[in-house]
């Protein structure tokens, strides 16, 4: 299975990405690929460079070196708009919501629906947002409140709804369930599998080993900005992954678990 996947042109290929902040090497020579219909877990300790790597793919940050291929073609992703044009949507760790605007205004921010005369079509944006949000959380209320008045979980649901509403080909989820309760977390897990089945490629950043093993096809572990290993999920167990995250190396006695 892994073989057939690697023969196809990957949906996204990030190669030899470097990102420096002054003397700090936040991302150092990282290469990673993502296929259609695949969930790749991006793991690592706090400050390992996961968000930086993903922000480079979302156009939110420019790398110092490295290139990005989309469907085998080199892509220029200098701005978030460029990423969207390439079908890349992102759920940011910071959520990236405008606090004074309501849910619908945030969901459509930068891509507002307009009437024939070019006015904002608030009625349509509201009903679309209502549908999108209810799918993720059936009890979503206070749709007309400024999002600063919403709970952390509700805000996260808005960020998730925004990323999936526009039918991405590549979805980046940076700790999408950090603020969610158990039932919402389960809903996001279902959603992830559904999107994967639709052929969407997903990068998932998570610290939750349970989620990672349930959802991911492959994992890529970062340690101090470096890629310390990419594995099919069946070849590693939780201890292996934890060892990679903490020490940056596999346990000494490791052999691919899938073959054992």
């Amino acid at each position: 299975m892994l073989n057939t996947a690697t023969e196809k042109t990957p949906l996204v290929e990030m190669s030899h990405i470097h990102k420096r902040f002054g003397g700090l090497h936040a991302v150092e020579d990282v290469s990673v690929s993502l296929n259609a219909g695949e969930v790749v877990g991006v793991l690592g300790h706090n400050g390992a460079g996961k968000s930086c790597l993903m922000r480079i793919l979302s156009g939110a940050m420019k790398p110092n070196e490295g290139k990005i291929l989309i469907n085998g073609q080199e892509a220029v992703i200098d701005t978030p708009q460029d990423a969207r044009l390439n079908g890349i949507e992102t759920i940011y760790q910071t959520l990236a919501l405008a606090n004074h605007l309501d849910a619908a205004a945030n969901l459509f921010l930068g891509r507002e629906l307009k009437t024939r005369f070019g006015n904002l079509d608030d009625a349509r944006m509201f009903s679309e947002a209502e549908n999108a949000l209810r799918q993720l959380n059936p009890n979503f209320k206070n749709l007309r409140d400024a999002v600063s008045n919403l709970s952390g979980g509700q805000r996260q649901v808005i960020a998730i709804a925004r990323a999936i509403y526009f039918q991405a080909k590549v979805l980046i989820m940076d700790e999408p369930t950090a603020a969610l309760g158990p039932s919402e977390t389960a809903m996001v897990a279902d959603l992830t599998l559904r999107l994967k089945a639709e052929g969407i490629g997903i990068f998932l950043i998570s610290h939750d080993m349970h989620d990672v093993f349930e959802l991911c096809d492959r994992v890529m572990v970062m340690n101090k900005g470096r890629n310390v290993g990419t594995f099919a999920i069946k070849d590693v167990n939780k201890d292996d992954v934890l060892s990679l995250i903490i020490k940056g190396a596999l346990p000494d006695d490791w052999t691919p678990r899938g073959q054992a």
């Binding site: 978030p80 940011y92 910071t94 205004a105 945030n106 904002l120």
Partner: protein, 337 residues
């Protein structure tokens, strides 16, 4: 959004910005009531028109200022830009250009100053306070340099039309041969203010640029990540503010039928005060044109009423200062609860 939002909330209980506007409006009405007791002439048609005229200039400035403040910025240059626009118009008329195109170019000159503000803020990454403080000095200096600090007068009767004319003016010839004004009419500046305020509110509430202005002031990084062109949005807001300052300059100089390069000193502070009294937050993301118009009228009525009651200009400054701090303090108290 917020029109619908405001309406749906009003049904239950006014909250947030709606409540702020309501209390500002009540303050305005109380002021009018108080002044009509202290000076009987206050509540006359003529004085009402005087207030309208006086408020038109501050109101026009406050429309642009509100947009800038909602983006999280500030525009300290509007008073000087107002003067420079007037000087440009005056010099063009003296050079033989007809009044209307000369005035249009004066407004354009104001827009250019605003555009430069926007460029300095976004491209050179200078904070709005410093960038517009610089423009405040530059525009004033250019205005004084071009005129040698002397007023430009004898600009012709048409130049005075915008500031002194009015719609529906009814004048009757009396038997003794003197005209008698039956209805003084609705002054052009008041109509202009109304038109610009409605246009400004429409742009802020119903158009994409308005939504983007709010988003930039609310969370600039989120706006950028959502695909909002932050640079373009800010430049737009400062350009609008500059052009409105130019327009305010036309109204003011036309009323005086003279170009005064010294006019408009400290007007930016009145415009900021009007926006803030009307509920705009200097932190960005909050504000409305309707609120700022109420704020402009509060300042206009205060000035006029205190004048008629014989209060000195110094005491007026003190009172308006207290009102500004009070308005913001009350708003913060309410938000904390």
């Amino acid at each position: 959004m917020s029109e619908v939002q405001t309406r749906s909330r009003m049904r239950f209980l006014p909250s947030g910005s709606a409540l702020h506007k309501l209390s500002a409006l009540i303050t305005l009405l109380l002021l009018i009531l108080a002044f009509s007791f202290t000076s009987p002439a206050f509540l006359s048609v003529n004085n009402g028109l005087t207030v309208l005229l006086q408020t038109a200039v501050i109101g026009l400035l406050a429309i642009g200022m509100t947009m800038v403040i909602i983006t999280g910025g500030i525009d300290l240059s509007v008073g000087s830009v107002l003067a420079l626009s007037g000087v440009v118009t005056g010099l063009l008329i003296k050079a033989g250009l007809p009044v209307v195109p000369a005035m249009a170019l004066g407004v354009v000159a104001g827009g250019v100053c605003g555009f430069v503000n926007g460029l300095v803020i976004t491209k050179m990454r200078i904070t709005p306070f410093v960038a517009t403080l610089g423009m405040m000095m530059i525009a004033r200096g250019v205005a004084l340099q071009l005129t040698g600090a002397a007023p430009i007068s004898r600009l012709g009767e048409t130049f005075g039309a915008l500031g002194n004319g009015s719609f529906f003016r009814v004048v009757e010839m009396q038997a003794n041969g003197f005209p008698k004004v039956i209805f003084p009419g609705i002054p052009y500046p008041a109509v202009l203010l109304l038109v610009m305020a409605v246009l400004g509110a429409y742009l802020l509430q119903r158009r994409q640029i308005g939504r983007h202005i709010f988003s930039v002031g609310s969370n600039e990084e989120a706006a950028r990540l959502s695909g909002v062109d932050v640079v373009r949005t800010k430049i737009w807001a400062y350009t609008a503010s500059g052009a409105l300052a130019g327009l305010a300059g036309m109204v003011l100089m036309s009323r005086l039928v003279t170009i005064q390069p010294n006019e408009g000193v400290m007007y930016e502070l009145d415009a900021i005060a009007a926006s803030v009294i009307g509920g705009a937050s200097l932190m960005g993301g909050v504000g409305s044109i309707s609120g700022s118009m109420i704020g402009a009228f509060i300042i206009g009525v205060l000035r006029n009423g205190l004048n008629m009651a014989g209060t000195s200009a110094f005491i007026q400054q003190i009172i308006i200062g207290v009102v500004v701090i009070g308005a913001v303090f009350i708003d913060q108290m309410r938000n904390r609860n």
